[in-house]
Amino acid sequence: MLKASENYVRKLIDEGMRIDERKFDEYRTISVETNVIKKAEGSARVLIGNSNVLVGVKMSVGEPFPDTPNEGVLIVNAELVPVASPTFDPGPPDETAIEMARIVDRGIRESKCIDLEKLCMEEDKKVWIVNVDIHVLDHDGNLIDASALAAIAALLTANIPKYEDEKIVYGEYEGKIPIRDVPIAVTIAKISNKLLIDTNLEEENALDARITIATNEKEEICAIQKGGVGFFTTDEIKQAADLSIKKGKELRQLVK
């Protein structure tokens, strides 16, 4: 399945090259398509190279969390469905899927991009629940960035359904989900002591560590997650922060 061995990937990177001839700070071709699922209140498909992620936003009504009685609820879930990779098994989300969902969740939540107070229907009792479901359809690396981009793209198009006689009227809408920022997650990988972005599957196989940094429109950081075995020095983290802000700005143009 892998087109290049770990050693070959590392050797190329040592020489300043990548197997698909990209620069270290270059994404593969990215395409964003919105409103792809009519039944969902919001949806988007993002392709980064061959990686293919579909996100659907479904709205439901439920109780708020006790500590935020006047705010709607955000729930992010990720499914690594078996169609996407021979390494994905059917069944409940594993730690990889859970971590990915939580990274995407934190970028959205910590940026406060959804005005959750506007999603309160009755304080303490009834609020809108925003369910962001990430469905990975094809895995060729960098699923975190693809998922985060698809999630915010889907949220930007999402509508609030009509609510009548204690029931959701599907297909009829009362307005849009209030979005006031566009957080973008950029994952920087460390392979053979070099930093690079948008790893493909072969590169991920050779990965030492990764760091995902979500930034907002004001170019502030709103969430960070380091993952993978391996470490980052202070200097590497600073370089990664600069890179995430620069690339975040470029990616934001694709969904705005």
Partner: protein
């Protein structure tokens, strides 16, 4: 519970600490009889207990690696550890934390020394008052040493953050809930090698860099405390190391 009007007054925090002070730290190694290695690490009211079992034959067998040991890590919060009871069992948060703790510890274990075996690290948070993953990681590193698992160095962990606009060390209590930014970090010993880094909250790049510098200092201090715990326990002549 409402937001506290002010959490830092004249450079003092709610519990009287200065900006770059830890809460009182308690470190103890070898606290359990059954486990091969165990340790307690406390930041104030945050109370973490870690136990290590193994290296032992890996079960189920198909998970064995003929070349190296497998590290498994489980982080769990006791039901009574927080104001609102924690439902026992795994949840998404604990799965994620277990994963990042495992990845952090994996930097220092000599896996090749014990092929086909499993090393189990269990972290129990008995009381939670913020920075639980940091306390748990510090305890886990100590428990690995106590178990005799060969490691390159300790993992030393602390939290930093931004509260009331100030950069602070060791987020505790209300600072977690009402502060602006919370960052969990860990380094290999006192080296400039971050093996854990998680940030929540909006922060400028400049302030983030300040947090990184403070985290380095904090982890270095934790490293000294961890080493001292062993020195205390194994003072020459005071304890029979062989027993």
């Amino acid at each position: 519970m409402g937001k506290k009007a002010k959490m830092i007054i004249n450079g003092k925090r709610l519990d009287g600490r200065s900006l770059e002070d830890f809460r009182p730290i308690t470190v103890e190694v070898g606290v359990l009889k059954s486990a091969e290695g165990s340790a307690v690490f406390k930041f104030g009211d945050t109370y973490a207990l870690a136990a290590v079992y193994g290296p032992r034959t890996m079960h189920p067998r198909h998970l064995q690696d003929p070349q190296r040991a497998i590290l498994r890590c489980r982080y769990s919060m006791a039901p009574f550890s927080t104001n609102e009871r924690v439902r026992p069992g795994v949840n998404r948060r604990s799965v994620e934390i277990s994963k990042v703790l495992n990845e952090a510890l994996s930097n220092v274990v000599f896996f090749e020394d014990y092929p086909k075996t499993g090393i189990d690290v269990f972290v129990e948070i008995l009381q939670a008052d913020a920075s639980t993953r940091c306390a748990g990681l510090n305890a886990a590193a100590l428990a690995l040493v106590e178990a005799g698992v060969p490691i390159k160095d300790l993992i030393s962990s602390c939290s930093v953050g931004k509260v009331d606009g100030e950069i602070v060390l060791d987020i505790g209590g209300d600072e977690d809930e009402f502060g602006e930014v919370d960052m969990a970090t860990a380094t290999i010993g006192n080296e400039d090698k971050f093996v854990l880094l998680q940030v929540d909250g909006i922060i400028t790049k400049e302030d983030f860099f300040k947090l990184l510098d403070l985290a380095r200092k904090g982890c270095a201090e934790i490293y000294e405390r961890q080493k001292n715990a062993f020195k205390e326990k194994y003072k020459a002549g005071e304890i029979d190391v062989e027993s």
